[in-house]
């Protein structure tokens, strides 16, 4: 119906950068939604991290594949590497159940981001949308399970890691990235969230779980919408 594709295609390139978008979202809604869980910037300094960090650095410097895979989208050659190696490692390296839950949420969010990117590039079809949303559900379910049904005191390292998660290196890549992301969008909120974190960990877990649920709900809605849009365009293209 609409013509002038030359102009339209060119104008499509004008869009908000993701940092701009999250900053804007933050100033409109007060806090950034989707809610981002607390992440301390000094986490690297704990001895728990230093050893794997060292191992991982070696691998990171040597193995470019896993870091190159980081930006891959479904349909890209490196996407399976990203999902099956990088992300498994990411979960495995999280020390506590709470941290694992955070990682799971992050992975779920990443599926939504991928869907959005694909949709913007017009590459999101029914099949990919299905794969992404299944994967999203899986991560979301795990995150909720890890967050636990009842408020509990800090669970110690006695909690066993999930069997299929093998501990492999190469994870710092993501940690670095997470920190970078964190500095851009959460710079303001970290400050706010740090205060409650000083309170009892019980309170914090409650807050954490609540914001986690909320975040997943919103993300899931967005994904759902993208999915519908993808199948609509597919229908139109068939005609």
């Amino acid at each position: 119906m609409t013509n002038l594709h030359n102009i339209r295609n060119e104008a499509e390139k004008i869009r908000l950068r993701s940092a701009e978008k999250s900053a804007m979202r933050a100033s409109i809604f007060g806090t950034p939604t989707p809610v981002v869980l607390h992440r301390s910037s000094y986490v690297f300094l704990s001895p728990r991290y230093l050893v794997p960090l060292f191992v991982v650095l070696v691998v990171f410097i040597g193995g470019g594949t896993t870091s190159a895979a980081q930006g891959a989208l479904p349909g890209d050659l490196l996407y399976p590497v990203k999902v099956s190696i990088n992300e498994t490692v990411e979960v495995a390296l999280a020390p506590t159940p709470a941290a694992k839950a955070e990682v799971q949420v992050r992975l779920a969010e990443r599926r939504v981001e991928e869907a959005q990117k694909l949709s913007l590039q017009g590459r999101l079809n029914k099949k990919t949308a299905k794969i992404l949303s299944d994967d999203f559900d899986e991560h979301a379910a795990r995150a909720v399970a890890l967050a636990g049904p009842e408020p509990q005191e800090q669970i110690t390292a006695a909690a066993p890691a999930e069997p299929e998660e093998t501990l492999a290196p190469a994870q710092t890549t993501m940690m670095f990235q997470a920190t970078i992301e964190a500095t851009t969008t959460e710079a303001t909120t970290t400050l706010e969230q740090e205060k409650p974190s000083l309170k009892k960990s019980k309170d914090r877990r409650n807050v954490l779980r609540e914001s986690l649920r909320e975040s997943l709900r919103i993300q899931s809605d967005i994904l759902q919408e993208l999915k519908t849009r993808a199948s609509e365009t597919e229908l139109q293209n068939e005609r």
């Binding site: 002038l4 004008i14 409109i28 809605d221």
Partner: protein, 176 residues
Amino acid sequence: MRDLEKTFNHAFESYSDELFRHASMRMKDRDRALELTQECFMKVWEYAQKGGEIRELRPFLYRTLRHLIIDEYRRKKPVSLEQMVEGDGDERSVEDLLPQDESNTLEAAIERFEGKRALAALQELPDAYREALSMRYIDGLSPREIGDIVGETENSVSVRIHRGLKKLKELLEHHD
């Protein structure tokens, strides 16, 4: 309240890019376009929180953005207001008699140019044409929807689009 925020969150996800794009077409300055987009969402969100009635979010957002842009023009350069209304009105009846497909011919002529150049030329047009053409061809709104947003009849919007296309084509061919 929750529902409202959710709806608005969706609206932000879905429309922020296109509104920003529209603002960018009207403002030379990227930062200013960014600020206006944000202000637009904030205003509408505030309004919605106070219980204001919004039937359809997308046109409402466009209308709000439009007011902000007009304010901006008024503040910055009062001269361009004359440009904004330039030439509209007197020839309207003649334009109405034009064959429907002349717009298509114009579109086809413009389509031959490279996108980058055509977009740059579009940005040189007086704002009234720039507004109408961006809404029509970049934001993909129908003349009727545009009419609702700018508070004019579908007919006068069509006329403006047609005239804008003509100017755009002249501009492009002139540069050749």
